[in-house]
Symmetry: C2
Subunit: 418 residues, 2 copies
Amino acid sequence: MDYVTELTEKGKAAKQAARKLATMSTALKNQALMAMAAALEAKQAAIIAANCKDIERAEANGMPKPLVDRLLLNKARIQGMAEGLRQVAALPDPIGETIGGWLRPNGLAINKIRVPLGVIGIIYEARPNVTVDAAGLCLKAGNAVILRGGSEAIESNKAVTTIISEAAQAVGVPAGAIALVETTDRQAVTTMLKLNQYLDVIIPRGGAGLIRTVVENSTVPVIETGTGVCHTFVDATADLGMAQDIAFNAKVSRPGVCNAMETLLVHEVVAAQFLPDMLARYHQAGVDLRGCEQTQKYHNAVKPATEEDWAAEFHDLILAVKVVPGLEAAIEHIAAYSTKHSEAIITRDYENAKRFQQEVDAAVVYVNASTRFTDGFEFGFGAEIGISTQKLHARGPMGLPELTSIKYVINGNGQIRN
Amino acid sequence: MDYVTELTEKGKAAKQAARKLATMSTALKNQALMAMAAALEAKQAAIIAANCKDIERAEANGMPKPLVDRLLLNKARIQGMAEGLRQVAALPDPIGETIGGWLRPNGLAINKIRVPLGVIGIIYEARPNVTVDAAGLCLKAGNAVILRGGSEAIESNKAVTTIISEAAQAVGVPAGAIALVETTDRQAVTTMLKLNQYLDVIIPRGGAGLIRTVVENSTVPVIETGTGVCHTFVDATADLGMAQDIAFNAKVSRPGVCNAMETLLVHEVVAAQFLPDMLARYHQAGVDLRGCEQTQKYHNAVKPATEEDWAAEFHDLILAVKVVPGLEAAIEHIAAYSTKHSEAIITRDYENAKRFQQEVDAAVVYVNASTRFTDGFEFGFGAEIGISTQKLHARGPMGLPELTSIKYVINGNGQIRN
């Protein structure tokens, strides 16, 4: 089957399924999620066998070991995927919630009700656990989903999707509610991005290249996720011990993720006191340091930072460091280079804390905490479909409510308009 | 100045202005709106003189009289524009509202705050009052705006934008906050649609062609507005007097707008009783009727409806009429042809009312009322920037809150993530 036919058929089926899912009871959706979890556990041998094919192909193609590890599915990871579905089942159902309601002078009763988005397209890379996560969250929020994973994981994704989709159907979820694009042809993505007739939204999850391709080519509305050039500003009045712990955590605890800090900004009045120890600690942890001229004075491992370094999402143990004359300069630097993901100030000054939070334009703005907390689970959402870096529809970590839309339901008794 | 330079400069200035606007006090924004209103009134001679040039050009080009009338600005209309700005000043400021807030077990205090979207691009046709409306609403919600009106109204738009922009600047609104694209080159729109560096969202307002161009070509996030193929379903148990009044109002009160009904669906058990009078009343009002075979039996003016008629937004005194076997068939017809704008059922049956509201996927779903109420003012929003027919970000009439985004503001005391 060619990819246009495949996508059209899956789109059509998903749209049909979405109509049923929109009015499906919470009990039935939860039952489906539990059945999907049980099926993953019961059929783990088949999943591992399929995954072996992906792993073998990856190794034969010389994929670097850390990436092969991301691709690997074993008993524990399948267990983790099943557990994730059970957690989604335990979350409150966002659908049907009355967000607001009021009575108009003419007697019309207006209610604003939470409804599913409809059909969600998710385009992602590598890790096959995203397949299960995304399917579970979309189902719980009453949406049909069309998944397009990386070609590296195609056998694993096919096995997993077949298993969860069959399990869901067995308890009454309509066929087509959970679909995987099976063609690995790259052109299939282009077709998917123009599938306005069937898709209500596309969420890309992956590297900057993928996100850019989707944003530039999609005619379907997109929720942009991911890229994080996050900053931490150590103010003149900062508790320097706290600042050191936060700045270390923000860079080193998990450098490959989008909420990791990429640039450390330091107020010039504390630079001499703060930076020598801080830079030494980074250096000892293996962080590749790139700094402004002043920063270079405080540790001999600091290389000169280039213009590109200020704008880079390193995704690695690399840090850019800049000494700035004050709050204003820090805010200006952030306005120039930030991707509006997560930004932090470490300060004891009330006015500066307030100004930073008001004037910095980002999804999440912290005072005295690590940027690493920008995460659906850390926010208490119990789930996360991604972190939106755009301002439309959703901003920051996206949980179940971010996978919904609204509908106005109006009850009258014969009202006509003059 | 070429249009790329013009758009880049205005984009840059708007982005700068947006940073200031985001933290501007409500008092100052309201003062600016009142000053803009006063300036429009004080300088109406200049506006009328500029408008004359547009009118003369339009007449020389043979523009149809109703369209020339839409373009015309006179004392009363300028007064109306000024009054609109004063009404916006009187509306509550959405910015700064805490939408939610909670404390995490680790002590992080998370607050979800309403903030402006940033820079909004508005692409619209003909009527110059949209220029003032849109500028006022964007300013009140703390956004900078880049306006691109129709070339027919360019002189009027230039005059009006200069006047309101200068008045706003005089009280402290930054330059660049309200900008008009002055080039009438059609290519300027294409450039605007790719201006991701400066624009946070584009809202097109106009005909289906304009909307399609924007949706298909924009890499900036879009809020789709407008097209309404709205239905009214007269159920078996409907109060037929009420049904007739509502169905007449929905079609005839203002046929050129998006919330007007385009197709009337009638339950077969009441067709013989309901349609003869209804069709006669439409016919008398000059409505061009296009019906299914059964409908044609009830009035000899009814022409056969084509497949195109069922999908058409007539924008005129034209109506498609279909007799259906019941609720299910009505819902199926709507699912096939609706643009998900506004749909109505006229019924006395509790279950059918509930099913219709649950199963019909549209921005607004009415029981026993005219679809013509889908409107920001009729909803009580006090303003309207357009009616969204997409599911992302905003759905249905958009008021001030729909011109905003959110920001998470988090206060900690040294939290780091494990």
